[in-house]
């Protein structure tokens, strides 16, 4: 039988459409436990490739023939080897092109909606890592919010839709992924906006983004309003786009809330987080559509693959917004937290411009899920 190559975009479609897929993950056990391709109707078998060097006979009866089979490894080499062995044994299988490395870097653009006065807002779903970034487009101009380091994808997308990138924002200093904001700004001549309280140690020039600041895209068609909402970091800032969309950064997610400990000051910031979620957001219209900077679990995806929900619905359903007792809230966001994102200190330093790791190193630093939330 022949083996076929499946790329990350094809796997993403299977995730969005809730298709069936059998994943034979041949990375070692700890890497698989830590992070894998998630899909509602995906089935898994984890056998490290080095246990299959003498042959695949022992696992043939564990691999289904009635659904597609995808062999996955870290970079692709081992999955090709195992796929070839399975193929020699008469099975029709695919391998993931570029492995988990490519999966981690894949961005799927999804249109969220039209803006009132013309223009659109797009969400870029980084499906493998759970990071979400945004492009707001109006009248031939674009703004990007919370860009990942795969900067060429945004530039190509903007070019395809005929928009010039004029503004780049980060809602906060990220700890789970390397921001592409500065690079995009450098390459396009756009203005790079950062919350100054998160930027006290940065080594480059930026435009300070402060509470109440309005930035216009497409000659005043679209207004981006900054709202200071500390808690995940001291500078965390949310945006209200076109009076309709609330870009909540890492403060509020669909089924979880931001964790306050990644810059080392959980106890100090828990009060800010509470104030942002229980007062500042509470004062906003329930009709706003919340667009967060992450998702944590695949259940948070809508049918079209986007991640969004009305603020009012989140106030009814999100557990993190419904903890009446302040002490209980404090306990939840400071105790029994999930492990911190891989290399989060180095990622923060990279985003400050203090260190400049090469691409290979950046990739390695970002391995794994984002882990910016508490549930």
């Amino acid at each position: 039988m022949t083996i076929t190559r499946m790329n990350s975009a094809e796997v993403t479609k299977k995730v969005f459409n809730k298709e069936q897929l059998f994943i034979l993950d041949v990375r070692n056990e700890s890497d698989f436990q830590d992070w894998k391709i998630e899909g509602e109707n995906f089935e898994y078998l984890n056998i490290p490739y080095f246990e299959l060097l003498d042959g695949v006979e022992g696992i043939l009866d564990k691999i289904p023939t009635e659904k597609p089979v995808l062999v996955v490894c870290a970079k692709e080499g081992s999955s090709i080897m195992v796929a070839e062995m399975l193929s020699d044994a008469g099975m029709a299988v695919s391998y993931l092109e570029g492995g988990m490395k490519a999966w981690s870097e894949h961005l799927e653009p999804v249109k969220i909606g039209d803006l009132k006065d013309g223009g659109e807002i797009y969400q870029f779903v980084r499906i493998g890592k759970g990071c979400l970034s945004y492009m707001v487009v109006s009248n031939g101009e674009a703004a990007i919010i919370d860009a990942t380091r795969m900067t060429h994808l945004y530039l190509e997308f903007a070019e395809r839709i005929g928009a010039k990138i004029n503004h780049v924002f980060d809602t906060h200093l990220h700890a789970d992924h390397i921001s592409g904001g500065r690079k995009i700004a450098e390459e396009t001549g756009a203005t790079y906006w950062l919350p100054p309280k998160d930027a006290t140690e940065v080594t480059f020039a930026y435009e300070p983004l402060v509470d109440g600041k309005d930035v216009e895209i497409g000659k005043v068609n679209i207004n981006i309003h900054a709202l200071y909402t500390p808690g995940h970091t001291i500078g965390s800032t949310s945006f209200i786009v076109d009076g309709t969309y609330l870009l909540s950064g890492d403060i509020l997610f669909i089924d979880s809330i931001g964790r306050p400990d990644l810059a080392g000051l959980a106890q100090d910031w828990v009060g800010d987080l509470r104030e942002s979620l229980y007062k500042r957001y509470k004062d906003l219209s329930e009709d706003l559509t919340v667009l967060p900077a992450h998702f944590m679990i695949i259940d948070e995806l809508n049918k079209d693959g986007s991640v969004s929900e009305k603020l009012g619905t989140l106030y009814r359903k999100n557990h993190g917004l419904n903890i009446k007792d302040e002490n209980e809230f404090r306990k939840m966001v400071t105790e029994n937290l999930p492990p911190q994102p891989n290399a989060y200190q180095e990622i923060r330093e990279t985003n400050m411009g203090k260190i400049n790791p090469d691409e290979e190193k950046q990739r390695e630093m970002e391995i794994g899920p984002n882990r910016c939330a508490v549930r």
């Binding site: 070692n28 056990e29 700890s30 490290p48 080095f50 060097l53 870290a74 970079k75 080499g77 081992s78």
Partner: protein, 75 residues
């Protein structure tokens, strides 16, 4: 550390470092030591997990100038 055999797996990408290590370990006696040089960063976790599953012992691990060095005692 004195090795009975040295395997140069520099420049090789996964799965070759492990494939070659497995072959090399078959060529030494139980209790003898295999020294491996690799440049593929994934080799560290994979060699550790592979050695564990086969009962081999990683006696020593070093990194210098992007070269990963391992000394494995055959089970």
């Amino acid at each position: 550390m004195e090795a009975n055999k040295v395997l140069d797996a520099k420049g090789l990408a996964c799965p070759m470092p492990i494939v070659k290590t497995k072959k090399a370990i078959n060529e030494i006696e139980s209790g003898q030591i295999l020294e491996i040089h690799a440049t593929d960063k994934g080799a560290k976790n994979d060699l550790t997990a592979w050695a564990k599953s086969g009962g081999h012992e990683i006696m020593k691990h070093e990194e210098e100038n992007d070269i990963l060095k391992f000394w494995i005692k055959k089970a």
